[in-house]
Symmetry: C2
Subunit: 188 residues, 2 copies
DNA sequence: ATAAACATTAACCGATCGGTACATGTTCTT
DNA sequence: AAGAACATGTACCGATCGGTTAATGTTTAT
């Protein structure tokens, strides 16, 4: 199996797990939906959990790349970019295939503290925090880490809410709250 | 089976699903952990999904009752109570058995729009919104529904974060953000 | 052309899934 | 005390779970 074929498999597995859930989607169904036989899958991934970890690694890279690039395109100062995060979120929520965040889902299904899948999800959220932190540092906030954590609270809350109610206004609510927090933040 | 026995079953099922996940915990394991045989369970619940719905109904009542009473004990004005919500959350996060919110987990595992379990989770979050809304109305906020939605964003975000990182400071971060939003909210 | 190397498929493994049939208590009525 | 009504546990149902074995292409090197 070529490297690109493998990437394609992980990508298709991501779609299947994202739409159907990790426990709910079995390996047989996965083989059918990805067009790759179970044997071929197990040639490259020792266990289902390993495949899930590969899916999460890919999604981490995808999501953070997308967010950073989209935010860069929408605003040019760190302060404006922190607000623009929620415009980007709004675009994501509006996609018909939006079904919450795969890491929140993964941590819901694999919740034991030491589980690698849980840890991988936590790591993704930490990397996201570091991105927010870069921006709050860039705008010269007095307590950049604190503000970054607050921004992330709104980020995670918006995703959860967008999955449970009409997502149309969720991003705007979060954006308004973020703008308040950012503009009233003390600058060093 | 007496009514109290039934309640006890639902309560024990709640613990098992909460700790282990809905798909991951099967009916055999459930029977073992609750001490009630499968046959007896199926005497009172047509399907596993029906049992899950009963679990969610109980948890909805429990959580909202707990939150309202705890907040009432911590503060006496609507404005202070909105902030106190996050002190209550902090107490919850500090419990060793805390493992996120069962409704967020349920909506992660049953994510199809029309699924009754998903709908029940959404309904719980809507009832929670109505509680926040009562408080924002009580404090005379200019846009009470908008502020209530922002408070709920912090509420959901805090739960997700508390599940993925050290939960010690999460509630305080959310409380600080909520206080900012509440105190800078226009009053009609 | 041929054989080694690799990829794929189908069939199968024991375990567990949600759910049920049935035989055995146990309790209440008379 | 006898029998109806109900509750319970055991053993089982076909289907599916994650994962493997072994036989069958398909490619590549010589």
């Amino acid at each position: 199996m070529s490297a690109s074929k493998r990437d394609e498999l992980v990508q298709n597995a991501m779609r299947a797990f994202y739409q159907g859930g990790f426990h709910a989607v079995g390996m047989d169904r996965l083989a059918k939906e990805t067009g790759v036989s179970k044997t071929a899958i197990y040639k490259h991934f020792r266990t289902k959990d390993d495949l899930i970890l590969a899916v999460l690694r890919l999604r981490d890279e995808q999501y953070r790349n997308w967010l950073v690039r989209r935010v860069e395109a929408l605003a040019s100062t760190p302060k404006d970019r922190l607000v623009a995060v929620f415009d980007a979120l709004g675009e994501w929520f509006a996609e018909p295939s939006f079904k919450s965040c795969i890491f929140i889902k993964a941590s819901s299904e694999f919740q034991e503290r030491g589980n690698p899948i849980h840890a991988s999800s936590a790591e993704h959220k930490h990397l996201l925090f570091k991105y927010f932190s870069r921006l709050t540092n860039g705008m010269g906030a007095d307590d950049p880490e604190g503000l970054a954590r607050q921004i992330q609270l709104l980020h995670e809350g918006a995703i959860v809410q967008a999955h449970l109610r009409d997502p149309r206004d969720v991003a705007q609510d979060a954006k308004a709250a973020a703008a308040r927090l950012i503009h009233s933040a003390k600058v060093a």
